[in-house]
């Protein structure tokens, strides 16, 4: 289920806040609990079925465990726990989205409830949200077909995984 073919000339490797005006970007939309989120398609390496991960000792609650992807050990983040929402119980459709950071080459998996599809977002339509509101996990909101979709900040996810203990303690 690799989505690598869907390459596009987007400049946005990370879902961070610096969004240039005028451009369009392909995003993948997925659900966590009853919320919809999206991340840039170019940051995705692959999407896999969920398999039982190996538990990592002393890990924060949002870390589901580690899985083996072709010889690399990749941590899986339970996005529902990370974002503070509830997981759907016994969901057959849940998948792990493997993302890679363009700069540090760090990889992690995001456990989501389901992937809905790909959409093209006009960057101008993204509404920024203030960090003061306690939403360091998100870089903005965009509404498509009357629904509000949150744009996830991937660099925050990875930074927490790689050992910013102060933040992870607060969240976990």
């Amino acid at each position: 289920m690799s989505l690598n073919e869907n390459k596009q000339t987007g400049r946005q490797m990370n879902g961070d806040t610096a969004i240039p005006a005028g451009g369009r970007e392909q995003m993948i939309i997925f659900t966590v609990g009853d919320q919809r989120y999206c991340i840039p398609i170019l940051s995705i390496k692959e999407i896999r079925e969920f398999e039982d991960p190996t538990y990592l000792p002393h890990c924060p609650a949002y870390v589901e465990g580690a899985i083996n992807i072709r010889g690399n050990i990749v941590t899986v983040v339970n996005l529902a726990n990370y974002l503070g929402t509830k997981l759907e119980a016994d969901n057959e459709r849940r998948v792990v989205i493997i993302i890679e950071d363009g700069v540090s080459r760090a990889t992690c998996g995001l456990l989501v409830d389901s992937v809905i599809g790909i959409t093209e977002i006009v960057l101008d339509e993204i509404q920024p949200i203030s960090v003061d509101g306690g939403a360091a996990e998100l870089s903005g909101l965009v509404s498509i077909d009357e629904r509000v979709i949150r744009i996830l900040r991937l660099d925050t996810v990875l930074a927490r995984l790689l050992g910013d203990d102060a933040i992870s303690a607060a969240v976990g």
Partner: protein, 751 residues
């Protein structure tokens, strides 16, 4: 363009890294009187190649020094200087300067002081001076040149030594060369060669050179293919003082030796004809076609003899790598062919082979589930794939293996420098340099070994006076040996010094507060104290060692590599340090244990025993709430692995026990007694032991942070991730103290 040059420069430095040990080995052989002419040639070639490479990058300091060195070695080569110990020592010191200069050029080392260079240059020139008694330029034709040795250009011009008194009579050299098409393909030109020859002549003597272009083989203009070479040249130029030597001419053709037919004939009436004959036979690069009709009269060689030589010369020309100077040809022929590969690629290969093993295992388990393995044919095919996979895995591991020679030879210098500083005479004897270990291990061995050898020189070996008083030879000996034993490598450092003064060690340890006063320790325990942090018996802090950071750093480094250090000492006779190390850092022998449904790996090296204990009888609660277990009268702190690692509790007993042991009956539990390098023990409470296996170590820190109690992870045969436990940190967290050894020893003694 800059990148290309950088790459070439990198290759040059890599070559230096190979040539310098070769030089060192050669010098070692000479000092042990095992030298042959070939050894001397080898060290000469090594210095020459460094000089040549350095010259093309404009590394002037390096070139200048290498040049003097080379000149001095030339005396050795020509047999005019006998290799006595003093000269060998000078060569050794000069080699150190040379390697420092390489490091300087590489920007990995400090700049070499001019005074040091100057001092060594003077010593080397003293050697050249000795050889100066004999006429240097008369060397050609007089020195017996070994059969497979191609002369190397030696330019004495820039150096101030006695001009030869007796000059050989003036003679003419006839140089015939015929470039192949490849020479032009490389962008070179015959014009460059001619200019190069012209430069050999003294200023104003250019008219002494006669050049004839041979056009006999040139087809008519109509038939002439534009990209083929048809021209040859015959150049006659005067030989002798101020003129040129055959070696100089060879040097001009150094870089085109493989794409150009070359023949050099001395046209000398004074010398007997036999000399001419010798030259013609020696001239490996003289193919038959160059013997064209118009010059054959000047060549007094029987045709059949020449043609027999041609076959060999051609074969050699073919085996010679492009752009390698002919001086290297002899060596290249002896060496096994090898290529340089980026280590990252091998790592990738390793990963993929690991994946292949997992893929094959999962294929097998899938087939087993389908019940397809009743098919004998299928079973056979699968067995073939299994064998192949294992062979490939071993082959890939073997690629990473390297002989320890590289590290060991570097130690020669360490000992040399250390003994010079300490004013002692110490010889380092190497054994088992060919023992192969993984490359990563080799890289990490240098620092600990350096420390240990410095210590052996500084503290182990006594001063010459003391040694002689004790009836030992004034020269101390350190034996550094390596060998394989039961899947590990054993490195021994044995000195014949005074041994460890255990009384003084204990006093110092008490003074430094490492052990409490009045403690009674066994001999071995006292010896172990030298590994304690902050321990140093040296009264004065010397430049060599004695800062008190030596041995504990060594021990730490060895432990980090998964190894152990042990000491044996006999007063007055010497000390023996034994390092036991795994062959590779990539693979680990692990015991697969189960705990609350998770499979984890404990390094076998730290497992002491596996015992079943009765909960009611053997386990005691101590006042601080923790538990200890008594195993054969020894109390060991108990670690409930599941709690320690915060494993989720709800997964117990889901699957069938298919392992060796499991806490079956109530009131019993399985504990794995583990030991850290300091000898402190703890008992891990586990649910069962499943298997013992070699596992490939994978980092978890690449994509996650460090986990307390876990050193790394691995991937099991079924493709699942399994954690490798870090026994040391587990023990530390269980016992709440780091230095458990001494306290335990006290407790033992008190009991």
């Amino acid at each position: 363009m800059g990148d290309v040059m950088d790459d070439i420069l990198k290759i040059f430095f890599e070559e230096c890294d190979e040539l310098l040990p070769e030089l060192e080995r050669g010098l070692g052989e000479i000092s042990e009187d095992e030298s042959s002419q070939e050894t001397i040639n080898a060290i000469f070639r090594a210095v020459h190649s460094i000089k040549g490479g350095a010259a093309s990058f404009g590394l002037d300091r390096l070139v200048r020094f290498a040049h003097v060195y080379e000149s001095a070695l030339d005396g050795l080569r020509s047999g005019q200087v006998e290799p006595d110990p003093a000269i060998i020592k000078t060569f050794y010191l000069a080699m150190d300067v040379l390697s420092d200069l390489v490091a300087e050029a590489k920007h990995t080392g400090d700049a070499v002081e001019d005074s040091r260079i100057e001092e060594n240059v003077q010593k080397l020139e003293a050697i050249i001076g000795r050889e100066g008694d004999a006429p240097a330029t008369a060397e050609v034709g007089e020195t017996p040149v070994p059969e497979d040795f191609t002369p190397v250009a030696v330019d004495f011009g820039g150096f101030d030594f006695d001009e030869p008194a007796a000059e050989p009579p003036a003679s003419m050299l006839t140089v015939k060369f015929r470039p192949h098409s490849e020479l032009y393909v490389r962008g070179d030109d015959a014009r460059n060669l001619l200019l190069g020859l012209k430069e050999l002549l003294p200023e104003g003597g250019a008219e002494a050179m006669q050049v004839v272009c041979e056009t006999q083989t040139l087809p008519s203009l109509v038939e002439l293919p534009v990209d083929e070479a048809h021209l040859g040249w015959t150049v006659r130029l005067p030989e002798g003082p101020g003129g040129t030597t055959e070696d100089d001419v060879q040097a001009v053709f150094d870089w085109v030796g493989d794409v150009c037919d070359l023949e050099i004939v001395r046209d000398d009436a004074v010398e007997p004809a036999t000399a001419d004959e010798n030259h013609a036979v020696e001239d490996e690069a003289a193919p038959q076609e160059a013997v064209s009709a118009d010059v054959s009269d000047s060549l007094p060689v029987p045709q059949d003899e020449a043609s027999s030589g041609v076959v060999e010369a051609d074969a050699q020309a073919a085996s010679r790598p492009a752009a390698a100077p002919p001086a290297k040809a002899g060596r290249k022929r002896e060496q096994n062919a090898s290529i340089r590969v980026d280590i990252g690629r091998i790592g990738m290969l390793m990963d993929m082979v690991g994946e292949m093993v997992i893929g094959q295992a999962s294929l097998e388990s899938a087939l087993t589930r389908e019940g397809a393995l009743h098919d004998q044919e299928l079973v056979k095919r699968l067995a073939v794939i299994k064998t192949l996979t294992r062979d490939i895995q071993e082959a890939v591991m073997a690629i990473r293996a390297q002989p320890v020679r590289h590290v060991f030879q570097r130690m020669q210098r360490v000992v040399r420098e250390a003994s010079a500083l300490a004013g002692k005479d110490v010889a380092l004897v190497l054994e088992g340099e060919e023992t192969e270990v993984d490359r990563t291990l080799i890289e990490n061995l240098t620092d600990p070994l350096t420390h240990m050898l410095r210590n052996a020189v500084d503290h182990g070996i006594e001063s010459p006076e003391v040694r002689q008083a004790a009836g030992k030879p004034a020269q101390g000996t350190i034996l550094l040996s390596a060998r394989h034993r039961s899947g590990r490598i054993l490195i021994e450092i044995r000195d014949d010094g005074g041994g460890i003064n255990s009384k003084r060690v204990l006093q110092t340890a008490i003074k430094r507060g490492i052990v409490p006063p009045g403690v009674s320790l066994g001999e071995n325990e006292i010896n172990e104290l030298i590994f304690a942090p902050g321990f140093s018996t040296a009264e004065t802090v010397s430049d060599l060692s004695g800062r008190g950071v030596g041995m504990d750093v060594v021990k730490q480094a060895i432990q980090n590599l998964g190894g152990r250090v042990t000491i044996k000492s006999r007063p007055g006779r010497g000390t023996l340090f034994t390092l036991s190390l795994p062959l590779t850092l990539a693979v680990l022998d692990g015991m697969l244990i189960e705990c609350r449904g998770s499979t984890m790996v404990v390094p076998v090296s730290s497992v002491v025993e596996l015992v079943t204990v009765k909960m009611g009888e053997d386990v005691y609660t101590i006042p601080d709430g923790s538990h200890v277990v008594s195993v054969r009268g020894r109390c060991i702190p108990l670690i409930y692995l599941g709690d320690e690692l915060t494993l989720p509790k709800d997964m117990i007993g889901e699957e069938e026990p298919h392992h060796m042991g499991r806490a079956g009956e109530d009131g019993q539990m399985i504990v794995l007694v583990v030991e850290n390098e300091a000898g402190a023990r703890a008992a891990l409470v586990v649910d069962g032991v499943r298997d013992q296996a070699q596992v490939v170590i994978k980092s978890i820190e690449k994509n996650y942070r460090q986990i307390k109690g876990v050193s790394a992870a691995t991937i099991l045969g079924d493709g699942s991730v399994s954690l490798i436990l870090d026994v040391s940190t587990l023990i530390v967290s269980a016992t709440k103290r780091i230095d458990t050894r001494a306290l335990e020893a006290i407790a033992e003694r008190a009991a």
